[in-house]
């Protein structure tokens, strides 16, 4: 009897000594970090973390006038140190699994982002499904300090608008961590990251006043930053960015316009694109062939053209082809001449086509890329003209 009792006592003490709650984190002990920004400091990095204030966001009657997010920054010699130091200013443990956006300052990016990425991809708490952006012309921390309307959490706003704009507007690139890492690692392709700007009065943007006005200080994605390996080397403007996305086949939907002969223009909505990058190698001289198939719809006809005439459609197609081709050429020209950074993965195409030649060229790829002949073929097909057939202006003329 007593022996049994003793046995069970020991067993239970043993079991309870096993049962600890080492990894346990209660929800109200977490500071859910939604956005992180990394700037350079005199020594090391300045890390800014945007943390949500759950009760302000979740509750139906958000009566308190407290800000929905709070932003903490801290500097440290390394990223990890800086993040750990944030606990000095934040009462709770930072939790990064729900990170939506990582903003890098231009300085950090020009310096090389591999150190940052190494830490982030090593730490199990960081997932890989957040987007990266580069803050253009200002400290990255400012981006996170700007309050936004509609979406209460600025970081979430950034995430969603990048996601939406990538789907409906071509010049942005929604890039996640693992793609970035594999692009950096690969010799045959260099990464690009979308840039972000704060438009308007920056000091107002950081107060609650910003969400009370109609035309507040805003966050806006602008152009695309070109990287060579892990270092930022320059920017593409909007048209070049568009050209870049066309080449990469990233365009899911966008809008472009074609000028009419008699003035005015026709707006066309791209509904589907498919790009195909092929390399051909003759005697160690690679040549790239980009073929892009675009399907478009007419969205708006602001001039008097006869949309019922098949010839007009043909005409519009050729015009659109020219425009798109010029975007793509601009993008290629700029990267070849100014940056020598192969952001299109032409090297990868060569490697897939002919691994042996690639082995010879890979060490010298930037130079080869700068001289690389690229043939572009664009094939636009207009499918539909919307719900009305003839252009209104044309009808009015008649």
């Amino acid at each position: 009897m007593l022996r049994k009792l003793g046995f069970h006592l020991i067993l239970f003490t043993l079991l309870f000594s096993l049962v600890g709650c080492w990894s346990r984190k209660e929800l109200n002990d977490l500071a859910i970090a939604m956005g992180m920004a990394i700037d350079k400091a005199e020594q090391g990095y300045k890390v800014t973390v945007q943390v949500v204030n759950p009760s302000e966001i979740a509750l139906k009657q958000a009566s308190t006038m407290r800000s929905p997010v709070s932003v903490h920054s801290e500097t440290g010699e390394t990223l990890f140190e800086a993040i750990r130091k944030i606990t000095k200013v934040s009462p709770r443990k930072m939790y990064f699994a729900h990170l939506r956006i990582l903003v890098l300052s231009e300085e950090v990016a020009r310096d090389g982002i591999s150190k940052v990425l190494d830490f982030i991809s090593r730490e199990p708490e960081f997932r890989t499904d957040f987007y990266l952006t580069v803050a253009k012309d200002q400290p990255a921390g400012n981006v996170l300090k700007t309050l936004t309307i509609i979406e209460k959490i600025p970081a979430n706003k950034l995430y969603l608008s990048l996601e939406t704009s990538e789907k409906t507007w071509a010049p942005t690139v929604a890039l996640q961590l693992d793609e970035l890492v594999s692009n950096i690692l690969s010799d045959g392709i260099n990464p690009v990251i979308t840039g972000i700007e704060v438009i308007g009065d920056k000091s107002v943007g950081q107060t609650r006043k910003n969400v009370e006005t109609v035309a507040p200080t805003r966050l806006k994605y602008t152009s695309v930053a070109v990287f060579k390996k892990d270092k930022l080397v320059g920017w593409l403007n909007e048209e070049e960015s568009k050209g870049y996305n066309y080449i990469m086949g990233n365009v899911k939907s966008t809008v472009g316009h074609v000028n009419c002969p008699q003035g005015g223009n026709v707006l066309m909505e791209v509904i589907r694109t498919k790009s195909d990058i092929k390399a051909s190698v003759t005697e160690d001289h690679p040549r790239i062939n980009v073929h892009l198939a675009v399907e478009e719809n007419v969205a708006e006809a602001n001039c008097s053209i006869d949309l019922l005439n098949p010839d007009t459609i043909d005409h519009l197609q050729t015009k659109a082809e020219k425009i798109i081709k010029s975007f793509m050429e601009q993008a290629i020209r700029k990267t070849q001449t100014e940056y020598q950074a192969d952001i299109f993965g032409f090297g990868e195409a060569v490697r897939r086509e002919n691994p042996d030649v690639w082995k010879k060229l890979r060490n010298n790829w930037s130079a080869v890329f700068a001289e690389l002949p690229v043939d572009i073929q664009v094939d636009v097909k207009i499918r539909r003209v919307g719900t009305t057939n003839q252009s209104l202006q044309k009808e009015m003329q008649e």
Binding site: G20, S23, P124, E125, T128, D129, D178, R351, R352
Partner: protein
């Protein structure tokens, strides 16, 4: 001891399948891809072919004495003392393997899921369930495997179906870009971990009640298991690319992390961890059971019970001693362990078959 324990051929097949997959599914894509890069999937298909040969060899070995375990027939073939030495060596193999696999699960849990939890406590709770299984005996183990099998299948199909849309075919190009030698290097681990480690089944085959179906079970179990591993390796390369696959310790876990269907079916990798945990559980259990059974047969004990808990007590510190850190462990696993497996699953059976053959030749005078 254990004379009335009977496994059905189907249970054997499921056990073989699970042991083939167990732990390999977690670490193998990374190891093979590290050597063979984007051609790892070709290496894995090649490995399956070699693996089938290895399994065939194991089956031939088991046919020497279909009703005896490895420990018993090695004593019969090699004589008492040499047999005992070989048997002791053989028994140490599943024991160390169980240790290594336990360490693997501990490393996996502490790197990916619960970084703050001490590895010892993960080892201990995991081992407690293993010990419970071994104490219950072979039949409940096999039946539990049977009961979990549909769930494993569902989880696995889930992983495959939802990750396939993210596959990028160009990740496989160029075909044969790394050369044959790299592929052979890559297939070393791929032959050793899933297929050669099946040698422990030499301890369990005598308990199968339909001996004529043993070959069928062994082959189907290992081939299906091999196909699963090929699929996972290929998917890792297709989705992650060969660079990321060999850069991460646990590519299939990364694969699960990538699942993203609509905006609701994502971040479910912790659930899919079930595939790894359950298969490794059965692998450790089968190994530990074989070790206990082998030692009991060497010592001619009347039951397994005096060995189970004490050996479990030994296993815990061993799993900590066996590797000072994960880097050393991975080095051992990638570079040394395949040869350790090779010794036990190819050299030892060949030795036994040869000796048995010579013995029979000698004892049967020619006429």
């Amino acid at each position: 001891m254990l004379k009335d324990v009977k496994l059905s051929a189907r249970q054997l097949m499921i056990l073989v399948l699970i042991v083939t997959i167990g732990d390999s599914i977690l670490i193998l894509p990374s190891l093979t891809t590290a050597e063979a890069k984007q051609d790892a999937w070709i290496a894995s298909i090649f490995s399956l072919l070699v693996g089938v040969l290895v399994v065939g060899l194991l089956h031939v070995t088991s046919r020497l004495y279909p009703n005896l375990t490895f420990v018993e027939f090695s004593e019969k073939i090699l004589g008492k003392w040499l047999g005992i030495v070989i048997s002791l060596l053989f028994v140490s193999y599943p024991f160390f393997s169980a240790t290594a696999h336990l360490r693997e699960i501990g490393d996996f849990m502490t790197t990916q899921i619960m970084p703050e939890t001490p590895i010892e406590s993960i080892h201990i709770v995991f081992l407690l369930v293993v010990l419970m299984a071994v104490r219950l005996g072979l039949e409940p183990i096999a039946r539990t495997a049977e009961a979990f099998f549909p769930w494993l299948t569902i989880l696995f199909l889930f992983l495959v179906v939802f990750i396939v849309p993210q596959a990028k075919l160009e990740n496989l190009q160029p075909l044969f870009g790394e050369g044959t030698k790299a592929m052979l290097r890559g297939s070393l681990t791929f032959i050793a971990f899933p297929f050669m480690e099946l040698v422990v089944f030499l301890m369990l085959i005598p308990f199968v009640n339909e001996q004529n179906k043993v070959l069928h079970s062994l082959l189907w179990g290992s081939v299906i298991g091999g196909l699963v591993l090929i699929l996972i390796t290929t998917l890792s390369i297709l989705v992650l690319g060969s660079e990321l696959t060999n850069r991460t310790f646990y590519p299939s876990y990364e694969l699960a992390k990538k699942i993203h269907v609509g905006d609701f079916l994502e971040r479910i990798e912790s659930l899919l961890t079930g595939i790894w945990l359950i298969t490794i559980f059965f692998k450790i259990t089968v190994y530990f059971f074989s070790a206990v059974l082998g030692l009991a047969q060497i010592l001619r004990l009347t039951s397994l019970r005096p060995l189970i808990l004490p050996l479990g007590l030994i296993l815990i510190p061993m799993s900590l001693i066996i590797s000072p850190n994960i880097v050393y462990f991975n080095h051992v696993v990638a570079k040394i362990w395949p040869f350790y497996d090779f010794t036990y699953s190819v050299i030892l059976p060949l030795l036994l078959i040869a000796t048995a053959y010579i013995r029979r030749q000698v004892s049967q005078p020619k006429h």
